[in-house]
C-alpha cells in the first residue's frame, strides 16, 4: 500500500508540475542562487524591484536572486502544488494566514537567531510570523483598513460607533438615492475587517492559549449588531453596484490604502478623506500583508535570509513597500518613509500601531472565509440575531479545530 501511495503521489506531482518543469539547470558551485517567488506587480513596479535587487547583488556579489513573478490570485495554488511536488522555490512571499499551515507541515525554515531585531518591527506584523512561539518569517509589508468618507456628504468624520450610525442615517435621510456606508458583506473581506470592530469593543477572535473560541462573545455580538444597524441606512440595492463609494453612491466605506491610489487615478473627481476606524471602547484595526519565508528545502538558506533581511531593513523596507503599494513593517523605515507626508496614508500608518494579528491556526482561512463570513451574512443581511449566527460559527470552528 505504501509503495502504491508513493508511486501515486510521485506521479501526481510529476503531472502537476509538468508545466513548471521547464526551469533552468543547476548553477556553478561558487555562486549562490536563490529562487524567490513573489506577487506579480505592474511592469513599472517590476522594474523598480529589479533595480532594488541590483543594489543588493552589488553588496553581495556571490548571491544571485532569481525573481519569479506569480499573479497574486494563483500564488497560493501554485506554491502548494510546487512544494508538494518537491520543486518549490527557495524563498518567497507567504500570506499571513498561511504561515501556520506551512510551518506545521514542516515546509518553513526557522529564522536563524540574530537575523533581525524583533523590536524593530510593528508588533502586529511580526506576530503573524510566530507559530507556537517560534519565528518562521520576516514581515515584509503590511496593510490595514480605515474609514473612507465622501467630503461632499460628510464634513466631520465620525469617531465613535454611535456617531457612525447617526451619520449614516443622516446621509440616507437627506439623500434618498444614496447609502450611508458600503457595509462589508458576509465574505472573506468582510470577515477580515470584522476583528477590528471586535477588538474595538474589547474582544478577540480566538483564545489560542486556552483553546477557546472568543468570536461569539458579547464584544463580537455588539460589533455585528452595529453593522446590522448600519445596513438599515445602507441598502444593498445601492451598494451592490460596482465601486459604490468611488461613484458617490455610498458616503462611507471601510477599506485599505490601495483604494487611495485607485480613487486618485480612476475617480479623480471624488473628494474623499480618510479617518481612523470609528471605535467603541478602544482604537483597533485589523492587519493583512505578506511575510518573507525561506522554505526548508532551500539550497542556500543563508543567502535567502540575507535577501529577506535586505528587504526588511531600516534602509530598504519603506522603499520596497512603496514600490508594491503597501506599508513598511520596520518601524524605523516607516518613520523615514514618504508616506508620512501624505495625510491619507498617515492615518493608515498610525492605525497599524493598533493592528490585531490574525489567529495563528492553520484552519483560520476556512474559519474566516466560510464560518465567519456566513455568520456575518446571517447576522447582518439575514434574519438571524448576531448572537445566534456567531454561536453557530463557533460550534463549527470548535469542531474543525478539535477544541471540544
Amino acid at each position: 500500500m505504501r509503495a502504491l501511495a508513493k508511486w501515486v503521489a510521485a506521479t501526481a506531482a510529476a503531472v502537476s508540475l509538468a508545466a513548471s518543469a521547464a526551469c533552468g539547470g543547476d548553477p556553478p558551485t561558487d555562486e549562490k542562487v536563490v529562487e524567490f517567488w513573489y506577487y506579480q506587480p505592474t511592469p513599472e513596479q517590476s522594474k523598480q524591484v529589479k533595480e532594488l535587487l541590483k543594489r543588493f547583488e552589488e553588496t553581495e556579489p556571490t548571491i544571485t536572486i532569481r525573481l519569479t513573478e506569480i499573479p497574486k490570485d494563483d500564488y497560493n495554488t501554485k506554491l502548494s502544488s510546487a512544494l508538494g511536488g518537491g520543486r518549490g522555490p527557495d524563498a518567497g512571499y507567504l500570506d499571513q494566514p498561511l504561515m501556520a499551515r506551512y510551518a506545521n507541515a514542516g515546509q518553513l525554515a526557522e529564522v536563524p537567531a540574530g537575523t533581525i531585531t524583533e523590536s524593530d518591527f510593528y508588533d502586529g506584523a511580526l506576530r503573524t510570523n510566530k507559530i507556537s512561539g517560534k519565528l518562521f518569517g520576516i514581515p515584509l509589508q503590511q496593510t490595514t483598513v480605515a474609514l473612507f468618507y465622501n467630503r461632499k456628504l460628510i464634513s466631520t468624520p465620525p469617531v465613535t460607533w454611535d456617531e457612525l450610525v447617526a451619520e449614516s442615517a443622516r446621509v440616507r435621510r437627506e439623500n434618498p438615492d444614496l447609502a450611508g456606508v458600503n457595509v462589508p458583506k458576509g465574505e472573506g473581506f468582510g470577515a477580515w475587517v470584522f476583528p477590528a470592530f471586535v477588538a474595538s469593543a474589547g474582544g478577540t477572535m480566538l483564545d489560542e492559549g486556552n483553546r477557546r473560541i472568543a468570536f461569539a462573545d458579547p464584544p463580537a455580538q455588539e460589533a455585528l449588531a452595529m453593522w446590522r444597524k448600519l445596513l438599515e441606512s445602507s441598502p444593498r440595492q445601492i451598494t451592490n453596484s460596482e465601486n459604490p463609494f468611488h461613484k458617490g453612491l455610498a458616503a462611507m466605506m471601510f477599506s485599505g490604502p490601495w483604494e487611495v491610489l485607485a480613487i486618485r487615478q480612476q475617480f479623480p473627481q471624488l473628494d474623499f478623506g480618510v479617518a481612523p476606524l470609528p471605535r467603541k471602547d478602544v482604537a483597533a484595526s485589523n492587519i493583512g500583508g505578506d511575510n518573507g519565508v525561506v522554505f526548508s528545502k532551500a539550497r542556500n538558506p543563508d543567502a535567502a535570509w540575507k535577501w529577506l533581511r535586505f528587504l526588511s531593513d531600516a534602509t530598504h523596507n519603506a522603499e520596497f513597500s512603496n514600490i508594491t503599494g503597501n506599508f513598511p513593517t520596520n518601524r524605523k523605515s516607516a518613520r523615514a518613509a514618504k508616506i508620512n507626508t501624505d495625510p491619507a496614508f498617515k492615518v493608515f500608518v498610525d492605525q497599524l500601531e493598533t493592528a490585531q494579528a490574525r489567529p495563528a491556526v492553520p484552519e483560520w482561512i476556512q474559519i474566516n472565509d466560510e464560518y465567519l463570513a456566513k455568520a456575518i451574512e446571517e447576522g447582518v443581511d439575514g434574519g438571524r440575531s448576531p448572537a445566534d449566527a456567531l454561536a453557530d460559527a463557533a460550534v463549527r470552528a470548535r469542531k474543525l479545530l478539535g477544541w471540544q
Binding site: A12, S80, R101, N240, S241, E242, P362, D369, E377
Partner: protein, 304 residues
C-alpha cells in the same frame, strides 16, 4: 506465390497497425498522462487527508462520510449540490431552446448564414473572464443595461447578482446567450433532414408549425439527445463563470456556489485536497449515473 502474397499483406497490416498506433500515440499519451493518471491519483487521495504540502495520511472512508453526513464541517456541500442541480435544470433547456431557435432562423435564410453563424458563435469563443466582466456590467443594479431596459417598459429590475433567488436564473441567461455550440450542431442536424419531406408535407397542406412539430423536431431527436447529454455533463461541472463572477465568496448567501467551485475552495483554499478529491469522485459517479439514466429514459431515435 500465395505464401509470399500472404506474408506481404501481413507485413502491410502490421505496418498499418504501427502507423495507426503512432498516429494515435499523442492522443493516448495525453489521455493517460493528463486524464487517467490524475483520475487514479484523485481516487487514491480521496481516501487520505492531504494538504498538498505534507505527506498524505490514510483516512479510509472518513472524507466521504464527513462530506455526506457532517453538516458542521461541510455545511455547504448539499447547498452546492442544489445550486448545481438547479443550474443544470435551467441552463440546459435555456441554451437548447436558444440554440435551436438561432439554428432554425439561420436555416431559413437564403444568404448571410455564415455571418449569423459567426455572430451567434462569438460568445462561445470569448474568454470567460471577459464574458463575466461584460455580464457584471449588464447586471449592475444601478447602471446596468438590463435594468435600464426594463425601466423603459416600466419594470423595476432586480439586483441580479445580489439577490440569492435570482443568481441562478441570471447564470442560466448567460448560458443561453452562450448557446453557439448547440446552434451549430442543430444547424448541422437541420441540414441533414432531406428537403423532400418538407416538399411532401407542403403538398399535403401542412403549415410551418406542423412541419416543425412533425418533421423537424422528431428528426432532430438524436441531435437533441446528444446536446442534452453533453450539456448536462458540462452544467454539472460549471466553474469558470461563477469563479470569475463571484470568486471564493460564491455570491449572496452562496447562491452561486457550484459543486466544482465548492470542491476547488476545499482543495486550494482550505488545504483539504483529500476531501476535494473525494468530492470529485462523487461528482464523477453522479455524472456517470445521470448519463446512464438519460440513455435509458430520454428518447434517442425517432420511432414514428
Amino acid at each position: 506465390m500465395n505464401a509470399v502474397h500472404r506474408s506481404g499483406s501481413w507485413d502491410r497490416r502490421r505496418r498499418d497497425a504501427l502507423a495507426g498506433f503512432a498516429f494515435t500515440a499523442p492522443a493516448m499519451l495525453h489521455t493517460l498522462v493528463f486524464m487517467l493518471v490524475p483520475a487514479g491519483a484523485a481516487l487514491y487521495f480521496s481516501f487520505t487527508e492531504w494538504d498538498m504540502i505534507s505527506p498524505a495520511r490514510w483516512a479510509g472512508l472518513r472524507n466521504y462520510q464527513e462530506i455526506l453526513f457532517d453538516s458542521d464541517l461541510y455545511s455547504d456541500f448539499w447547498k452546492s449540490v442544489r445550486v448545481t442541480a438547479l443550474y443544470a435544470l435551467l441552463s440546459v433547456p435555456a441554451s437548447l431552446v436558444t440554440g435551436f431557435v438561432q439554428a432554425y432562423l439561420i436555416d431559413l435564410l437564403r444568404r448571410g448564414q455564415a455571418f449569423y453563424r459567426l455572430v451567434f458563435y462569438l460568445p462561445v469563443i470569448t474568454a470567460e473572464a471577459a464574458v463575466a466582466a461584460i455580464w457584471k456590467w449588464l447586471y449592475d443594479p444601478q447602471f446596468g443595461l438590463i435594468n435600464a431596459g426594463l425601466e423603459v417598459v416600466g419594470v423595476r429590475g432586480p439586483d441580479w447578482l445580489g439577490t440569492p433567488g435570482v443568481v441562478i436564473p441570471a447564470l442560466a441567461l448567460i448560458a443561453a446567450w452562450q448557446s453557439g455550440t448547440a446552434m451549430l450542431i442543430f444547424l448541422a442536424g437541420l441540414k441533414g433532414i432531406p428537403r423532400t419531406y418538407y416538399e411532401a408535407a407542403e403538398v399535403d397542406g401542412a403549415n410551418r408549425w406542423r412541419q416543425l412539430g412533425h418533421i423537424t423536431l422528431p428528426l432532430l431527436r438524436p441531435t437533441t439527445f446528444y446536446l442534452v447529454v453533453t450539456g448536462v455533463i458540462a452544467a454539472l461541472q460549471v466553474f469558470g463563470i461563477v469563479y470569475v463572477l463571484f470568486g471564493g465568496n460564491a455570491g449572496p448567501e452562496r447562491s452561486g456556489l457550484s459543486y466544482v467551485l465548492h470542491l476547488y475552495l476545499f482543495g486550494y483554499r482550505n488545504g483539504a485536497m483529500g476531501a476535494a478529491s473525494a468530492m470529485s469522485v462523487l461528482l464523477f459517479v453522479t455524472v456517470l449515473l445521470v448519463t446512464a439514466a438519460q440513455f435509458r429514459l430520454v428518447p434517442r431515435q425517432y420511432e414514428g
